[in-house]
C-alpha cells in the first residue's frame, strides 16, 4: 500500500496535505492574513505538478486493488487539470478580497475540487469514480455559491439539482453493469464484456453511465442548467468550472468509451445524436442572448458537444483529436474568463457594455480577442488547427457521418455570428469618455491572460509538437 502511494499517488497526497493545511490555517490565522491564502494554494498546486514527475506510467500501474490506475493518459489529464486549477486560483484575486475571512476555507474547497478532478481521471473502479465525481461536485457547489449575491446561490442550487439527477442516472447504470458482470472494476468489466455477447441490458447500462457523466458537460436534456450557472457564477470560478470538470469528465468518458463500453453500437449512436442536438440547441440559443457570460455558456456547451461527437466514434485518431481539442479549448476559455475577471464581475455583462475597450487597453483586449477568434476557429490560432483536426477525425469515420459533419460545420457559422457579437463592440469607436478604471488588474490576472493567449497563438503556428504528444498518448491508452 505504501508502495502504491509512492508510485502513483504523491501528487494526490500532496494536494490532500495542502487541503488540510488550508483548513488548519483558516482556523488559526487572523482574517487579515487573507492575502496569503492564494499563495498557499499556488504552492500546493505547483508542488503537485512537480510531483507528477514521480508518477509511474510505463506500463500501466494499478493501485489499491485495481481501484486507481495511472498511465501517460492520466498523467496528461492530471497535468492539464492542475494547470487549469493553477490559472483559476490566480484569477481569484478579486473574489478572495470580497470574502476575506473565508479566504482559506474557499481555497481549501478549491483544492478539494481539484483533488476530486484528478481522482476522476485515475479511477479504475465505478465506486472510486462515483466518490470522486461527488467530491468534485460538492466542492463546486460551494465554489459557485462563494460570491455574494442572490444569483450565485441560485446557480449553486441549480447545479446541485442537476448533478443529483445525473448522479442518480449514473448509479442506476452502474447497478445494471454490476448485475451483468458482477463487478464494478473497470478493467474486470472490460475483460468480462469482451468475452460476452452484447446484450440489451449492457447497452442500456452503458448509455446510463455515460449520460450520467456527460450531463455535467451540459449535454442536451440536462443542458439548461449551464445558462443560469454561468450567469450567476463569479468569473474566476467560471474559469475553473468551464475547464476542470470538463477535462476530468472527458478524461474518464473517453477512457470508458474506449474500454468497457465500446461494444455497444446503440451507445455510439445515442451519444452522437445527443451531441448533435446539443450543438444545435446551444448555438441557436446564443443567437438571441446579449449577456456575454450566457453566450460563453452556450459556446461551452457547443464545444463540448463537438468533442463528444468525435469521442463517441472510437478510434485512436479521434481520441488524439479530442485530447488536442480539449487542451486548446481550455486554454482559450481561461483567457476569456481572465479578461472578464479583469473587466470586473460587478460591471454589467451585456455585449454593448464592452464598447471601445480596445482603445482603452489594447494589449489586454487583443489577448481577449485572440481567444475569442480562436474559439471561432479562425487562423492563426490553436482553435483553427483544433477544429480542422477534430473535423478531419469525424470525416475519416465513415460516409454515414457526413451529414453530421455538415451540420456541425454549418453550426460553426452560427457560432461565428455570436462570437462576432462579442468581438465587434470591442473595436467600436465611441466619443464619450467612458470610465474604464476597472480594466486595471493585478499581476496575476495579466499573467494568466497573456500566457494563455500566447500559447493559443503559439499552438496555432507550431501545432505539430503537441499533436505528436496527443497521438502518443492516444496510442498508449
Amino acid at each position: 500500500m505504501l508502495n502504491d502511494i509512492f508510485n502513483i499517488l504523491l501528487p494526490h497526497v500532496c494536494l490532500a496535505g495542502f487541503i488540510i493545511l488550508q483548513l488548519i490555517l483558516s482556523m488559526v490565522l487572523h482574517p487579515k492574513f487573507y492575502r496569503y491564502a492564494r499563495l498557499v494554494s499556488v504552492l500546493g498546486i505547483v508542488s503537485s505538478i512537480v510531483l507528477l514527475s514521480t508518477v509511474q506510467t510505463e506500463p500501466q500501474y494499478f493501485a489499491f486493488k485495481n481501484s486507481l490506475m495511472s498511465d501517460s493518459y492520466t498523467l496528461l489529464f492530471d497535468f492539464m487539470i492542475l494547470l487549469c486549477g493553477f490559472f483559476a486560483i490566480l484569477l481569484s484575486r478579486n473574489l478572495v478580497r470580497t470574502i476575506k475571512g473565508n479566504a482559506y476555507t474557499y481555497n481549501a474547497i478549491f483544492l478539494t475540487a481539484l483533488f476530486g478532478a484528478i481522482n476522476i481521471v485515475s479511477a479504475n473502479d465505478f465506486l472510486t469514480l462515483f466518490v470522486s465525481v461527488e467530491l468534485l461536485s460538492f466542492a463546486t457547489y460551494f465554489l459557485i455559491a462563494a460570491a455574494k449575491g442572490y444569483y450565485s446561490k441560485e446557480a449553486s442550487f441549480k447545479y446541485l439539482l442537476t448533478s443529483a439527477i445525473s448522479t442518480g442516472v449514473f448509479l442506476f447504470g452502474v447497478s445494471y453493469m454490476y448485475g451483468i458482470t458482477s463487478s464494478i472494476n473497470i478493467s474486470d468489466i472490460y475483460e468480462i464484456i469482451t468475452n460476452q455477447e452484447p446484450s440489451i441490458m449492457y447497452s442500456i447500462s452503458s448509455i446510463m453511465i455515460i449520460f450520467g457523466l456527460i450531463s455535467k458537460l451540459a449535454v442536451f436534456p440536462f443542458a439548461n442548467w449551464i445558462i443560469d450557472v454561468y450567469k450567476g457564477t463569479e468569473t474566476s470560478v467560471l474559469a475553473f468550472l468551464s475547464t476542470v470538470p470538463k477535462l476530468a469528465l472527458f478524461g474518464i468518458v473517453c477512457r470508458l468509451l474506449v474500454f468497457p463500453l465500446n461494444n455497444s453500437l446503440e451507445l455510439t449512436f445515442a451519444v452522437a445524436f445527443i451531441s448533435l442536438i446539443t450543438a444545435f440547441w446551444a448555438n441557436t440559443y446564443a443567437i438571441r442572448e446579449k449577456n456575454v457570460k450566457i453566450i460563453f455558456a452556450c459556446s461551452a456547451s457547443a464545444n463540448s458537444s463537438y468533442a463528444l461527437l468525435t469521442a463517441s466514434l472510437v478510434s485512436v485518431y479521434n481520441l488524439s483529436a479530442v485530447i488536442f481539442y480539449l487542451i486548446c479549448y481550455v486554454l482559450m476559455n481561461i483567457a476569456v474568463f481572465a479578461f472578464l475577471n479583469i473587466y470586473g464581475d460587478k460591471n454589467p455583462m451585456d455585449t454593448e457594455n464592452f464598447k471601445c475597450l480596445f482603445f482603452k487597453n489594447r494589449t489586454l483586449t487583443l489577448a481577449y480577442a485572440i481567444s475569442v477568434i480562436a474559439l471561432a476557429g479562425i487562423p492563426i490560432t490553436s482553435g483553427f488547427i483544433a477544429k480542422i483536426y477534430l473535423f478531419s477525425a469525424i470525416a475519416s469515420s465513415g460516409l454515414i457521418l457526413i451529414p453530421f459533419l455538415l451540420a456541425l460545420l454549418l453550426l460553426t457559422v452560427v457560432a461565428l455570428y455570436y462570437y462576432l457579437k462579442i468581438l465587434l463592440p470591442l473595436f467600436t469607436k465611441c466619443d464619450k469618455n467612458i470610465d474604464i478604471s476597472y480594466l486595471q488588474s493585478g499581476f496575476s490576472q495579466k499573467f494568466v491572460i497573456y500566457v494563455t493567449a500566447g500559447i493559443t497563438i503559439l499552438l496555432g503556428i507550431f501545432p505539430e509538437i503537441l499533436i505528436e504528444l496527443c497521438k502518443f498518448i492516444a496510442y498508449n491508452i
Binding site: 477568434i373 479562425i378 488547427i385 475519416s396 460545420l409 461565428l416 465587434l424 499533436i467 505528436e468
Partner: protein, 495 residues
C-alpha cells in the same frame, strides 16, 4: 539572381511590415506612414515583376517551410509549401499591382487611423498572396480564413469619411464575413473529404495538390466533394444566388477597399475553382461543368439587368463585376485551352477595369458627395480630364476593340463554342453574347446620366482630378491598352 526570389518573402514581407506598422513603436505621423506604405507596395510590385521576368514555365518556383525540421502538421500531412506556376504568377503580379493602385488611391479617402488602415491592407495582401501561391489545401484554407480579419476591418471602417453610413458599412462587413465563412465551411468539408478519400484510394497522407491530382476517388464522392468546394468558391466568385453580400460590401467600403475587393478578392474564388476543381479534380469537373455554364449564364444575364436598374454608381460597378465574373466562370467551364486562357485573361482585364471604375466612382463621390446618377449631371463640364478617363474606361469595359476586355470576352465565347463537353456550353456561349449589349446599356447609362446633361451650379467649385488620381487612372488605362494590343503577354504565358 534566382536565389533572391523566394515565395515566403513575397508573402510574409507584407505581413511583417503590417505588424511593424501596427506596433506602437512606429510613428503616428500620417505622411510618413502613408509614404512608407506606398514605398512597401511599390517595392513589392517591383519584386513580383522581377519574379515574373525570371519566371520559367517549365520550372516553376517552389518553396517549402519547415518548423523545427517538421512539416507543419505532419499528422494530417499538411506541408507549408508554396508553388508559383503561370496562373499564380499572373495573379500575384496583378495582386501586387492592384494593391499599389489602392495605396495610391488611399491618399484622399483615408483621413484617420492611417497605421491601422495600411497594416490591414498589407495583411489582406499577405493573405491573398498566400491563397494564390499555396500548394497545399489546408494552407490555402488557412489563408482563405485569415483574409476575413483584415477584410472585415477594411470594409467596416469609415476611415474618417464623415457621413452617416457607419452602421451600413459595419452590417455589410458582418454580412461579408458570415457569407464567406458559410462558404468556407462547405469548402472545409470538401477539403476534409478530399484529403481523407485521397488517403484511402491513393495511400498517400498528403494535402498537397500535386499528390491529389486525379486521384482515383469513387465518382459519386468526387461529385459531392466538387459541389462542396464549388459552394465555397461560389460565395467568393460570386455565383448567383450566393452573391448578395457583394453589392453591399462594395458599396459601403471606401474606394481603395472597393478596388481591392472587386479587383482581387473575387478572383480568389475563380482561382479556387481553377486550382481545386479544374486542375486537381478534372474528372468531376467535366461532369459539373455544363451546370456551371448555366449558372454562369444566369450570372451574366441576370446581374446585367439588375445593374441596369441601379442608380448608385458603385452598385452598378458591383453588379457589373458579378456579371463579368460569370464570364470568367464560363471560360473555366468550357474546359479547354482557349476558354481557360480567356478566363485568366478576363480576370486581369476585369481587375483593371473595375479598379478604374471604382476609382471614378470614388472621385465623383469625393467631389460631389453623391453617387446617385439621377442627381448627378453635367460633371463633365467641370471635370474634363476625369470625363476623358471615364469615357475610355467605360468603353473598354463594354468590350470595345483595342482594350483588354474585348479580347477576353471574344476568347471566352470562342472557348465555350469549341468545348467538347456538352451542347449546353455552346448554348451558353450563344446566349452570353447579349452581355456585350447589356453591359453597354448600363455602362453608357451611367456615363450619360452623370457626365452629360446640364451642369448643376454646385459643381462650379469642384476640382478636376489630382496627380494621384491621374496616376491611378493612367496606370489602369495603360494596362488595358497594353493587354488589348498585346494579349499574348498573358495568353502566351499560359498556353
Amino acid at each position: 539572381m534566382e536565389i533572391f526570389l523566394s515565395i515566403p518573402f513575397l508573402i510574409f514581407m507584407p505581413l511583417a511590415v503590417s505588424l511593424l506598422l501596427i506596433s506602437p513603436l512606429f510613428t503616428r505621423n500620417e505622411i510618413i506612414v502613408r509614404r512608407f506604405a506606398k514605398g512597401v507596395f511599390s517595392f513589392h510590385f517591383l519584386y513580383s515583376v522581377l519574379m515574373l521576368i525570371f519566371f520559367d514555365k517549365a520550372n516553376p518556383y517552389v518553396n517549402e517551410i519547415h518548423f523545427f525540421g517538421l512539416d507543419w502538421v505532419q499528422t494530417l500531412g499538411i506541408k507549408f509549401i508554396f508553388r508559383i506556376d503561370a496562373v499564380s504568377m499572373i495573379l500575384t503580379v496583378l495582386t501586387s499591382f492592384v494593391f499599389l493602385l489602392a495605396s495610391v488611391a488611399s491618399k484622399f479617402n483615408i483621413r484617420e487611423s492611417h497605421k491601422f488602415y495600411y497594416s490591414m491592407l498589407l495583411l489582406l495582401m499577405s493573405a491573398i498572396l498566400g491563397i494564390f501561391t499555396s500548394a497545399d489545401m489546408f494552407v490555402f484554407f488557412l489563408f482563405w480564413e485569415l483574409e476575413l480579419i483584415p477584410a472585415y476591418f477594411l470594409i467596416a471602417g469609415s476611415w474618417g469619411q464623415t457621413d452617416n453610413k457607419n452602421d451600413a458599412a459595419k452590417n455589410s462587413a458582418v454580412k461579408f464575413v458570415l457569407f464567406t465563412f458559410l462558404g468556407s465551411m462547405f469548402m472545409l468539408l470538401g477539403i476534409l473529404l478530399l484529403h481523407y478519400y485521397n488517403y484511402i484510394s491513393n495511400g498517400i497522407l498528403s494535402a498537397s495538390f500535386s499528390d491529389i491530382i486525379d486521384s482515383p476517388i469513387p465518382a459519386p464522392i468526387q461529385i459531392m466533394i466538387a459541389i462542396c468546394l464549388l459552394i465555397g468558391f461560389g460565395v467568393k466568385l460570386p455565383i448567383i444566388p450566393l452573391h448578395s453580400w457583394l453589392p453591399d460590401a462594395h458599396t459601403n467600403a471606401v474606394t481603395p477597399v472597393s478596388m481591392v475587393l472587386a479587383g482581387i478578392l473575387l478572383k480568389t474564388g475563380a482561382y479556387g475553382i481553377y486550382r481545386f476543381n479544374y486542375e486537381t479534380m478534372s474528372e468531376s469537373f467535366q461532369t459539373v461543368a455544363p451546370y456551371l455554364a448555366i449558372l454562369a449564364l444566369i450570372n451574366i444575364i441576370f446581374t446585367a439587368f439588375v445593374a441596369y436598374a441601379q442608380t448608385d454608381i458603385k452598385r452598378i460597378v458591383a453588379y457589373s463585376s458579378i456579371s463579368n465574373m460569370g464570364l470568367v466562370l464560363l471560360g473555366l467551364a468550357a474546359y479547354n485551352q482557349i476558354g481557360f486562357s480567356a478566363s485568366v485573361f478576363h480576370m486581369v482585364a476585369h481587375a483593371l477595369v473595375t479598379c478604374g471604375l471604382f476609382m471614378i466612382a470614388g472621385i465623383v463621390y469625393l467631389r460631389c458627395k453623391n453617387r446617385d446618377i439621377n442627381t448627378l449631371s453635367g460633371i463633365a463640364a467641370y471635370m474634363p480630364r476625369l470625363f476623358g478617363f471615364a469615357a475610355v474606361i467605360v468603353l473598354a469595359s463594354i468590350g470595345v476593340p483595342m482594350f483588354a476586355p474585348f479580347i477576353s470576352e471574344i476568347l471566352t465565347v470562342i472557348g465555350a463554342m469549341n468545348s467538347d463537353l456538352s451542347e449546353v456550353l455552346k448554348f451558353s456561349a450563344v446566349f452570353s453574347l447579349p452581355l456585350l449589349i447589356l453591359s453597354s446599356c448600363y455602362m453608357l447609362k451611367f456615363l450619360h446620366k452623370s457626365f452629360f446633361g446640364e451642369a448643376r451650379e454646385d459643381w462650379a467649385k469642384i476640382n478636376d482630378i489630382s496627380v494621384h488620381e491621374f496616376v491611378v487612372l493612367g496606370a489602369v488605362l495603360a494596362g488595358l491598352i497594353l493587354f488589348g494590343l498585346y494579349p499574348n503577354a498573358i495568353i502566351g504565358m499560359i498556353g
